[in-house]
């Protein structure tokens, strides 16, 4: 049916056939080839993770000598820290806002760009330029545009509204949140756009013809033909973006530095502050485990839906 399904189903569908035919020496080579990469992953992420379990349960703090076992105290400290809770709330709000806006804009843009027109080939590469720019630099870009006195934003808004505008974009709530979302949207809407456009182009033209023959309106066509056909790729795009968005760090670091106070801390930024600025390493490690488990829940929920689109 839909080509999009193949994107997700590929690894599983092929599985049964070639495995049955492999000889013993083949199987040895197969594992030999996997070994280097698997060892590297083990060394670089699994081993540190296991080590960090130990760190989370002892006292590893540059201000206090020794590594005494403290049980769950580190976890308790994190859970009772109001800034930790604020960071978590910020992470949820910011990632939800970013992904929602990016999805809406990306879908609209994909729909608008689907049909060929003159100049389309020229506009297409322009639209995906932000994807190639490092997030740190994107943060710098938007700081430069928004923050007075360097940015022209307030001046332009003033012209538009007919009265002087004095917003301090990076230090005034809610404007700092809007600034962060804008920077993220600028960078990642093209990602949504590219994936959704690929999905839209893969829908068979016959489906639209059939809808037209049946007298479906533009909205009905979108609702009952386009959306269901696009669903696997919508899910894919949302999953990838959401998994990235909850890790939001660079833009915060560059644009607001978490400030004013701790008002724009995200989970990643909070853990960085606790760990690498204040050197409460055990507390930060315990916090990163909580964050890891929370994101694992999200990942499991999303990926499980993604891996079996056929059964929907």
């Amino acid at each position: 049916m839909a080509d999009g399904v193949g994107v997700n189903g590929v690894a599983i569908r092929r599985s049964a056939e070639p495995a049955a035919r492999t000889s013993r020496s083949d199987r040895q080579i197969a594992w030999l080839l996997v070994l280097p990469a698997a060892l590297l992953i083990l060394a670089l992420s699994i081993y540190p993770l296991i080590y960090s379990v130990w760190v989370a349960f002892v006292n590893y703090d540059f201000q206090i000598p020794g590594h005494a076992f403290v049980g769950l105290q580190n976890f308790r400290e994190i859970i009772n820290d109001p800034i930790a809770r604020l960071s978590l709330v910020n992470t949820v709000i910011l990632s939800a806002a970013c992904v929602a806006v990016e999805f809406a804009l990306g879908l609209l843009l994909a729909l608008a760009m689907l049909e060929r027109f003159r100049g389309r080939g020229l506009i297409m590469p322009l639209l995906i330029v932000p994807l190639f720019i490092s997030p740190v630099i994107v943060g710098q870009f938007w700081s430069l545009i928004l923050q007075p006195p360097f940015g022209p934003t307030n001046y332009l808004l003033g012209l538009l509204l007919g009265r002087p505008v004095e917003i301090s974009w990076l230090t005034q709530t809610p404007w700092n949140f809007i600034a962060i979302v804008t920077a993220d949207v600028w960078q990642w809407t093209p990602f949504m756009f590219v994936i959704l456009l690929a999905g839209l182009s893969a829908i068979a033209p016959e489906m639209f013809e059939a809808a037209e023959l049946d007298g479906a309106s533009r909205f009905q066509t979108f609702r009952y033909v386009t959306l269901p056909q696009l669903k696997p790729l919508i899910l894919l795009a949302l999953t990838f973006r959401l998994l990235d968005a909850v890790k939001l760090f660079d833009v915060i670091y560059v644009m607001t530095g978490g400030g004013p106070g701790a008002s724009t801390y995200t989970a990643s930024f909070y853990l960085y502050q606790i760990g690498f600025q204040q050197f409460h390493l055990s507390k930060a490690t315990a916090g990163s485990w909580i964050f890891l488990l929370l994101s694992a829940l999200l990942i499991m929920a999303l990926v499980r839906r993604l891996l079996r689109p056929e059964t929907r």
């Binding site: 599983i12 092929r14 599985s15 070639p18 495995a19 492999t22 197969a30 594992w31 080839l33 996997v34 280097p36 990469a37 698997a38 590297l40 992953i41 992420s45 993770l49 760190v55 804009l105 609209l108 843009l109 608008a112 049909e115 060929r116 506009i123 322009l126 639209l127 330029v129 932000p130 870009f141 430069l144 545009i145 006195p149 360097f150 940015g151 022209p152 001046y155 600028w186 093209p190 690929a198 839209l200 182009s201 033209p205 639209f208 013809e209 037209e212 998994l243 909850v246 890790k247 760090f249 989970a267 990643s268 853990l271 960085y272 760990g275 390493l281 990163s288 485990w289 964050f291 990942i299």
Partner: protein, 138 residues
């Protein structure tokens, strides 16, 4: 797959208003993408006296390139670029090498079934901060 635009055959029934909306949206979005790039580019060639003016200087009367030499040499930007280049090359070569070996094995022999490939992919989902902390300590 992505051959001819699928909806092009709906052409004749297009309403003009819809087309205006469509191209208006595309135009606005292109502007949204380009404005930051323009502002950064134009700020980079402004003499210092043009930074803080109201109304803003949209294009400097006397463009200068001193900031580029300053960024590259005085602020050690060249060093940063070299480091980026070395690190990027090394990681790309290394991961392409290891990834090719593993990818071939996974695709050809389906080594480890779906679980191994999922485990490898799941590394991508880890928040970097969870890995950086213990690596820093080790």
């Amino acid at each position: 797959m992505a051959t001819a635009a699928p909806t092009s055959r709906r052409g004749p029934r297009r309403a003009l208003g819809f087309e205006v909306l469509r191209f208006g949206f595309i135009g606005l979005f292109v502007l949204f993408v380009l404005v930051p790039l323009y502002w950064v580019a134009v700020t980079s060639i402004k003499p210092v006296s043009d930074y803080l003016t109201t109304p803003p200087v949209w294009f400097p009367a006397e463009p200068t390139f001193v900031h580029y030499t300053a960024a590259l040499f005085a602020y050690r930007g060249l060093e940063g670029l070299t480091n980026s280049f070395v690190i990027a090359t090394a990681t790309t070569v290394l991961s392409a090498l290891l990834g090719t070996l593993m990818g071939y094995s996974l695709a050809r022999f389906n080594t480890g079934g779906p679980h191994l490939s999922f485990w490898v992919l799941s590394q991508r989902f880890l928040p970097p901060i969870a890995i950086v902390l213990p690596i820093f300590l080790l």
